[in-house]
Amino acid sequence: MSLRTWVYLLGGVYFVLLALAARASWRRHRTSDEFMFAGRNLGVRLGLLTYAAALFSAFTFQGMPDFFRLHGVGAWMFLAVSDGMMVLLIVAFGRAIRQRVRELGFNGVAGLMSSAYGWRAAGWMMFASSFIFLVPYVAIQIRGISIFLRSAFPDLLTPAQWAALIVLIMLTFSEIGGFRAIVFADAIQGLSLLLILWAIGLACVRAAGGWAPLWDGMLAVDPALGSVPGPRGLFTVQFLLASAIAIVMIPVTQPQLTTRLVVMKSTAAMHRMAVAVGVFAILVIFPTALIGALGAVRYAGAPTDRFLAGALLHDRAPWLGGLALVGLFAAGLSTTNAQLFALGAELRSMLRGTDRAVMMATRAAILVFALVVFGFSVVMSDQLVLLARTSFTGTSMMAPMVFGAVALRRPPRALAVISTAAMLVFFAAQLGLVTGVVRGVRLDLLLYLVLAISTGPALLLARRREAAAGAG
């Protein structure tokens, strides 16, 4: 069978599974809380897959093999080691935020900020950071998939038409099934992502003639690929450190992932989920190194789209190419869905009115967000990983605000203001209004330093004071 036949066959199976997930979820959802948070009783397995699927996406599938090909093995330190640090933080942060949610209730992270600070503006600041940095991130995913689909089927649709189709499917699916449907789709995607990447990774090892020849071949092309900072000098200590901070803060400041910690059925389940996500991260990132290593040999100097179309599709057996294409589509769909839905949930947590009116407004807002995302996806560049990193970094600036809300009973409003100011400075740098490097130090690293110095001691002091007052 040809690649196209396999794509139709596997794509058909995927859409049937999606339809079943939407149908099952549609029957279940009764209240807006069930629609938005799946009743907050996710077990370890679903929790793992939905968290992993929201975290690993087209960015991992397409971006990481290309990152390894172009910049070498430092890409492992950039993502996998940072993810290891992230899961360790989940244990402490997850427990603390769940405790706070028990006291204040939960409608969304923005709503939680609003309640914790007793100041609605704090909630809107959180929402603004999510909107500013998640919209481009969602658009990146759609952009990546559309380019890939275009190179796989050059005669079928333009990238913009593919993007429109993806947005339409995404909207229909989330509007019918809500959060639980997204979790089911994530489960399908999480498993398929792992299996497909390993199938392709092992095919690359075979194509290279074995394990050792794969690495020998990569190092023969350019020895700089075997160490940091890599052939293009990207992986400097500053870059890796700033990236690690941004990635570690993902569960703290990216609402689609914070929400997944809160909706786990127990803290013990969330703990087990954190460990499982760590294992999953290692397992899912490693095969992208194998794909990238072979790519460095076979596609040295080739543009990204030619490398991806070759390495994931045309160099593989037709069944595997078909699986890769459908898997990539699934990866992009579930991540973008999770993010768009999270934006809707964030807005909902800030709205007032009857349950029905708020839900109507939320659904309308998700539609508007989807249209904005579509617009962005048509005009963005192809640097998937670096754009995604910008999104992580931008939202991570809000971390002191979230830590304050979680750790303190009466957090000072200054935490919210300082965090938002840092986020806006970083945003201004993305627009070219502020320099990205100050006296040889990256702006993001400098902002982290300023945030740590200006908010860290105050946070610790306030926490001690509250503890002493509580003991007294």
Binding site: A80, W215, A224, V237, A274, I282
Partner: protein, 81 residues
């Protein structure tokens, strides 16, 4: 009872200190030596296999932190009863 609690607290602190030390060491030439690919392990360059070991250590520390956290939680619930 207090001894047990102290031991648990000490272990929890040890896990977090180990995590902090490992995180700091990650960004030193110990794990990311500039331009060095040796020693290689089953063909893989040093930074890659050392990075895999570091990632596994973090997952191990996560498992330990999660377990100690859950023990403390159940102790607290036991104390309440």
């Amino acid at each position: 009872m207090d001894n047990r609690r102290d031991r648990q607290r000490w272990r929890r602190r040890a896990v977090w200190v180990a995590g902090a030390v490992l995180a700091m060491a990650t960004f030193t030439p110990l794990f990311i030596p500039s331009g060095r690919i040796h020693p290689r392990f089953i063909g893989m360059p040093y930074t890659l296999w050392a990075g895999i070991a570091v990632a596994m250590l973090f997952v191990g520390l996560t498992a330990a932190a999660a377990r100690l956290d859950s023990e403390e939680e159940s102790n607290r619930e036991g104390g309440r009863r």
